[in-house]
Subunit: 470 residues, 2 copies
């Protein structure tokens, strides 16, 4: 954990334990900096993070104060999940489709959606880049830029990794039709039907659907809602089940919002390397960090080529363009060949458009604005959850991404909430779609990637009421 | 077979049998029309087809004459293939990749390529359509136009089918990342690993690769180089092997160039319906007909929803855009769900660009020009094959598409020709990549989709010489 995060955590704990009360003033940055032996910038980052979480608020020329609503905030879930540790055939895809299809009406309030609001992206500017490339398209690029993909785009993607000291070169990359194709090809490259794969518990339903479709078994591993998969349990599961691969979201995991601290990522990579086990790393949310720095992917520590790292522009820049990529390490040729037989190639004008956008600059500025917006929306949604959801609710406060994981009081029925909400024009993602055997019956994933306007506020109130009914 | 084709065939046979000699004049259109009881337009079509095949040539104000080179033309292969009829695990993908990867250098002469020249497409006009759509992109379309795809694009695709009396409605269509994804999802929708699938012999290597990747067995069925798969043999194979599906290219089959006559397509659909057997129909070349009318797909006769028809714009309008589709009949929901888990969605700006291009008209004009170009290139390539290839060579004269299938004299080694040609900067597709057990050792597929300039002529001369060496 970074130092500013540790400081923010300490203060948040003090607030939750009542050591700091609403209205009370935090130490000044100078005081805290001296007392903690931290730079003023680090203290500022911590206070800013607390503010984004709705726990403190600045007052002009007077410093930071514990916010009125801070104490009323439902607690975070703070124990790791406890799946049963069995390897089992996955049987959740039908349920996932039922839930997704019930949420496809255009005017539904998209609290269960996997997408944030498309208005948050620089689509006009990106469109101008695409217009330029489309009109000036070199016919040869329709052949040359097929798999593994446009060289200039791969150079730009590699450059961003290089700045973060992640060892991915342009030639290591296979451009894919979104991260989902990259992930599908990666798991196909390292498994055969009947193999077992280690996943987080809960985990992203699309991963489970892929395992189900390919006849793979899932082993759900205990996962902490803040710090991600438990390495001791992971090691034990490897020894017990001899799985073929491990498939994780290392940053702002969907649905928990958990991120492995950097040291834990390094340990994870070393642990898997000792077992010669490939890691499919889904890092589509890594750029959506609320802290000052992009968290490293596990790929940063991969010296053996065992990490098949996957990401995309769909969550950060270009929804609908369907541009993702895999950096599959030692499996690069296998993934490229699978790409050829799966979809042959990725839309060439879309590749060129993003390459041109990246070339002309502005991506980081866009990302800074996007992160601020999402952090502010998280605070607003947390506030609404605090107001509307029943006593005994717990809710995460991830420091990135755009999902909250809500644990309703034990005995709640998230699928019933989801069905009743759908009847009222509100979508929500119920816990059971995130588990190979439909666990997490009392949990919900809430998307805060849409501005909390009056309509959304009313929907959250309805959700809270439905969640209170027993 | 259409009447003009029958007439052209008669005349071509007469030329080959020496009843008509080079330099001899064909009957005038009026004479032939009266003698055959055909309309003058039909006779014109027949003569035009013969001209496109290089067998006759017009002389100003004097009519059509048998061309000088006509008699020298190698004969067509005219017997159906005779595969051994076994169901077997496919083992050809590694060979296919070796061959394709040896052909990936940019300056290679692309006679083995699966693509025609990208200069044959209206990329500038299409690019302007894309520019308009990209700049005016409605953010909501990045969500609304995900699978099954943009409604306007599906409406235009359906309209083209409707004109040809093919019963495909907009709502029956799932937009995919090229025909290859549509085909992959279609076969996945109707099979499980270990199932057997009926294919043509020879058949397109990408179909074989898909079967191999999914652990399906292939049953190669005798196929005539002009009229496609043999229905008697197909029926026998169904009774013997109880396959899960049949996967065919009904028009201008890759690599043979064969097309099922319309009555045979109807019989095929009825035969399969009697066995409740789904047909995966790959029709990507159907629009590239040299005759006056687009040949119907088998889907035209599908009253039971058993035909999963797949096509794309990649071979006719928009290479590199990666827009294809499936019309999966009764399997539509299953294919749409597989699409969601495979790649989630298809590039939205590319969908919108093609919808706009179709809306604004000009596609048919473009296609007419493209067909003429390809027919003329076929004649030129046939001429070169006649000049350069060894005695005993046979070559097809498909009336559409852009592939010739060359049978070298028995005992020839197409893989050796391919390897030596690659060393000289020339690609060619050897017969064994078109067969589950690497048959067709003496055959080559030749792409005539690139203008026959001096460089290509020299390459064909080299290929002919390599093919003559024993």
């Amino acid at each position: 954990m970074k130092r500013y995060q540790a400081l923010a955590d300490d203060i948040a704990r003090s607030i939750r334990q009542g050591l700091l009360s609403p209205g009370q003033r935090l130490p000044s940055v100078r005081q805290a900096s001296a007392a903690r032996k931290l730079s003023p910038a680090t203290v500022f980052q911590a206070y800013y993070l607390l503010e984004s979480q709705g726990l403190v608020e600045p007052r002009a020329r007077s410093g930071y104060y514990v916010s009125e609503r801070a104490r009323a905030m439902p607690p975070e879930p703070d124990t790791a999940s406890q799946p049963d540790g069995q390897a089992r055939a996955v049987d959740v895809s039908e349920l996932v489709f039922e839930v997704l299809e019930s949420a496809m009406a255009r005017d539904i309030v998209p609290l269960g959606s996997a997408f944030m609001s498309p208005t948050l992206f620089p689509l006009a500017r990106l469109g101008r880049a695409m217009a330029h490339e489309a009109v000036h398209l070199d016919p040869r690029s329709t052949v040359d830029d097929l798999t593994p993909g446009n060289a200039e785009l791969r150079r730009h993607i590699a450059l961003r990794y290089r700045i973060g000291a992640v060892p991915i070169a342009a030639n290591d990359l296979v451009v894919c039709n979104g991260a989902i194709e990259a992930l599908n090809l990666s798991i196909a490259a390292v498994t055969r039907p009947g193999d077992a794969v280690l996943v987080e518990s809960p985990c992203f339903y699309a991963a489970l659907q892929t395992l189900e479709r390919r006849g793979l078994h899932a082993i759900e591993v205990p996962t902490h809602p803040r710090e991600g998969i438990e390495l001791g349990a992971l090691d034990a599961a490897i020894r017990r089940h001899a799985p073929a691969a491990c498939w994780l979201m290392t940053n702002y995991q969907n649905p928990l919002g958990s991120s492995l601290p950097e040291a834990k990522k390094r340990e994870l990579v070393e642990l898997l390397a000792r077992h010669e086990l490939p890691l499919i790393e889904d890092d589509v949310y890594g750029e959506l960090h609320f802290g000052a720095h992009r968290p490293a992917p596990a790929k940063a520590f991969d010296t053996r080529g065992l990490v098949l790292h996957c990401s995309s522009f769909s969550k950060t820049l270009a929804p609908g363009y369907r541009i993702g990529w895999a950096a599959p390490g030692r499996y690069a040729q296998r993934v490229a060949r699978l790409k050829l037989t799966n979809t042959l190639a990725t839309c060439v004008p879309a590749q060129l458009a993003i390459a041109r956008y990246l070339q002309r600059g502005g991506y980081d500025r866009h990302l800074r604005g996007l992160r601020k917006t999402l952090a502010a929306q998280q605070a607003a949604y947390l506030d609404a959850v605090a107001r509307y959801f029943p006593q005994g609710t717990r809710v995460t406060r991830p420091d990135g991404g755009y999902f909250l994981w809500i644990e309703l009081p034990e005995g709640s029925d998230a699928l019933a909430v989801q069905r009743r909400a759908a009847q009222q024009g509100i979508s929500i993602a119920p816990g059971p779609i995130f588990s190979a055997n439909r666990g997490y019956a009392h949990c919900l994933r809430l998307n805060y990637g849409h501005a909390l306007d009056a309509r959304v506020d009313a929907a959250l109130q309805v959700l809270g009421a439905l969640s209170s009914a027993r």
